[in-house]
């Protein structure tokens, strides 16, 4: 088992602020990992560095052993890193069905000015995905009309459609009800076990983190603060302190 993703003393400074501070993170193939941390600890910046939105001030990102530091977003996207954004990143005016079609067009061999061949079986794969995220009934609806939780699932479905080797999920349960959160945790566990996709999740909902029961990395002030299982982290006095903000 080689590591799929590795960051080596990854650092990003915005003026005087160090958003990400010498982060060394290693993700094994097939792993499901949670990144936990209070607001503003650099979680989203870390994702932006991995996916090429930002160029790091120092350090490197390796994906399957290849240095991908500073490559453009669409190139990194093509290499097999799929990302779910914090604010649901969907295409508002397109129907739910068309939203899922967009990532599929990437594989189209013939010119994009022509419809995919019927025998490509894309439609069946789209419907299977819609079933997985429980949106079959809303396939025809413009995505803007979906409820907040459904938008999050739609985006997970879109990322899944690319069959990425690494999935980055940025707060997939933000703004969800307890039931929706549980359902999302179930969905992510399924994706991890059935599709064998390596997943890195950012969350600060501790209930969700318990549900997916994965290995946890705690970030604090841009640096790795602690790493361990849910039990280790939950019982750790120093982690509690940074979360409750006592004498940070």
């Amino acid at each position: 088992m080689g590591s799929l993703l590795e960051t080596k003393s990854l650092t990003k400074k915005f003026g005087g602020l160090t958003a990400v501070d010498h982060v060394n993170l290693t993700l094994e193939k097939g792993e499901l990992r949670c990144i936990l941390g209070p607001n503003g600890c650099g979680k989203s910046t870390l994702f932006n560095l991995i996916t090429g939105v930002y160029t790091p001030t120092a350090g490197h990102v390796f994906f399957e052993g290849e240095d991908i530091t500073g490559k453009p977003v669409h190139i990194i996207g093509r290499m097999g890193i799929g990302r779910k954004f914090q604010v649901p990143g969907i295409f508002d005016q397109l129907t739910v069905f068309d939203n899922i079609r967009v990532p599929f067009f990437r594989d189209q061999r013939r010119s994009l000015f022509f419809q995919p061949r019927r025998e490509s079986g894309i439609d069946d794969r789209i419907m299977a995905l819609l079933e997985k995220i429980s949106l079959v009934d809303k396939a025809n609806l413009p995505a803007v009309h979906l409820a907040h939780g459904e938008k999050q699932w739609l985006e997970i479905g879109m990322v899944l459609a690319r069959r990425p080797r690494l999935m980055l999920l940025d707060e997939p349960t933000a703004g969800m009800t307890v039931t929706e959160t549980r359902k999302t945790a179930q969905l992510i566990r399924d994706i991890s076990s059935e599709e064998k996709i390596t997943i890195l999740v950012i969350e600060h909902d501790i209930g969700f983190v318990r549900e997916i029961a994965s290995r946890i990395t705690v970030l604090y002030k841009g640096a790795v603060f602690k790493e361990g299982s849910y039990e280790d982290i939950q019982s750790d006095e120093s982690v509690r302190r940074i979360y409750l903000g006592r004498s940070g």
């Binding site: 996916t51 939105v53 977003v73 669409h74 190139i75 990194i76 996207g77 093509r78 799929g82 990302r83 954004f85 990143g89 969907i90 295409f91 508002d92 005016q93 397109l94 129907t95 069905f97 068309d98 939203n99 079609r101 967009v102 990532p103 067009f105 990437r106 189209q108 994009l112 000015f113 022509f114 419809q115 995919p116 439609d123 069946d124 789209i126 419907m127 079933e131 429980s134 079959v136 009934d137 809303k138 396939a139 025809n140 609806l141 985006e155 879109m158 690319r162």
Partner: protein, 340 residues
């Protein structure tokens, strides 16, 4: 969840946005085809010119409505097309003689020249990551510069423009008869409508709308948004150039007003009022606003602008997606409710 998959697919694959407008488009096409039967010569000539603006509006609908590129200099492509065509057929462009000087070759040269120009401009705009108001300002500057050049360049007619353009001809047939011109422009309009509808329905068109709705999302799926926007920009410019050429053919003159800021903003208004997210709505918008302008100015001399202004305000408030666009979009949503 255990429904058979195929009906769901067919339901998903037949969004109303595709079927209904196709029927309406067919109806509109038939009306136009049969219009000359009314023997109303005044309106045949009038409609010919209106359709030229309609083609121009359709090109902007692609760029703005589908591509999300708010271009304040779209008339530059219209005017450039008209000027290049005119200079060639009047034998004023050195080197374009003999076969190169014919109407068809002038048309092709104008369109490809403008497309090339748009590709260069687009390269700098979109790889330079310009969007929103910044893109608007740069394209606006482009329009102002183009108009200044046209006004000050004596060789291409300066302020007065160029007159007495020889009639368009194909294989010896000259388009002089108003009816012939009407059908020439109508066939161009139909061809452009079919082309643009094909483009926006294709995977390219869906990706384009995806980029418009959420660019970072589309890019993270591996799509090069700059490249998609440049291609869209070039297609839009080529169609605008075609409409510019048709303008020169129909009116037999070109002037700096065709290339500048005022026509650029006017076309934005037609498209916004018609409905920028529906190709046909943009076409009808151009026709309706131009016809309304003509009618109002006849009716009330100086006050027509005031009434047009009031009409704009009402339309923007009550039909944010355009007069024809809202109408088509409404049908679309009703159909969805009826299905579920």
């Amino acid at each position: 969840m255990n429904k058979p998959i195929s009906p769901a697919i067919s339901a998903a694959r037949s969004p109303g946005l595709r079927i209904r407008p196709a029927r309406i488009a067919l109806g509109v096409m038939v009306i136009f085809l049969l219009f000359p039967l009314t023997k109303n010569d005044y309106w045949v000539v009038n409609l010919t010119q209106l359709m030229v603006y309609g083609i121009f509006a359709m090109s902007l609908s692609l760029v703005w409505g589908y591509g999300g590129i708010l271009c304040f200099g779209h008339a530059v492509y219209f005017g450039m097309g008209a000027y290049i065509y005119t200079l060639i057929v009047k034998g004023m462009l050195p080197g374009f003689t003999g076969i190169l000087g014919t109407g068809i070759m002038a048309l092709i040269t104008a369109i490809s020249g403008v497309a090339l120009f748009a590709a260069v401009i687009g390269y700098f705009l979109f790889y330079g990551r310009l969007s929103g108001p910044y893109l608007g300002i740069v394209t606006l500057a482009m329009a102002v510069i183009a108009e200044r050049i046209a006004v000050d360049w004596y060789y291409i007619g300066g302020y007065n423009g160029l007159f007495s353009i020889p009639p368009f001809s194909i294989g010896g047939y000259q388009f002089i008869d108003p009816l012939a011109l009407f059908y020439l422009v109508l066939s161009a309009a139909i061809a452009v409508y079919l082309l643009l509808t094909h483009v926006v329905k294709s995977p390219f068109g869906i990706i384009l709308r995806a980029i418009r709705d959420n660019e970072p999302r589309a890019e993270s799926f591996g799509y090069n948004s700059a490249r998609h926007k440049i291609i869209t920009f070039v297609i839009g410019a080529a169609v605008a150039a075609l409409s510019g050429v048709l303008f020169a053919v129909v009116t037999e003159f070109v002037s700096p007003t065709l290339i500048g800021f005022s026509l650029s903003t006017e076309v934005l208004i037609w498209v916004a009022l018609g409905g920028k997210e529906v190709i046909l709505a943009a076409f009808l918008g151009a026709l309706a606003v131009r016809a309304l302008e003509a009618w109002l100015s006849e009716l009330m001399a100086y006050y027509w602008l005031l009434f047009l202004g009031i009409f704009f305000v009402i339309a923007v408030i009550y039909f944010p997606r355009g007069i024809f666009g809202s109408w088509l979009a409404d049908r679309y949503e009703h159909r969805i409710k009826g299905r579920s």
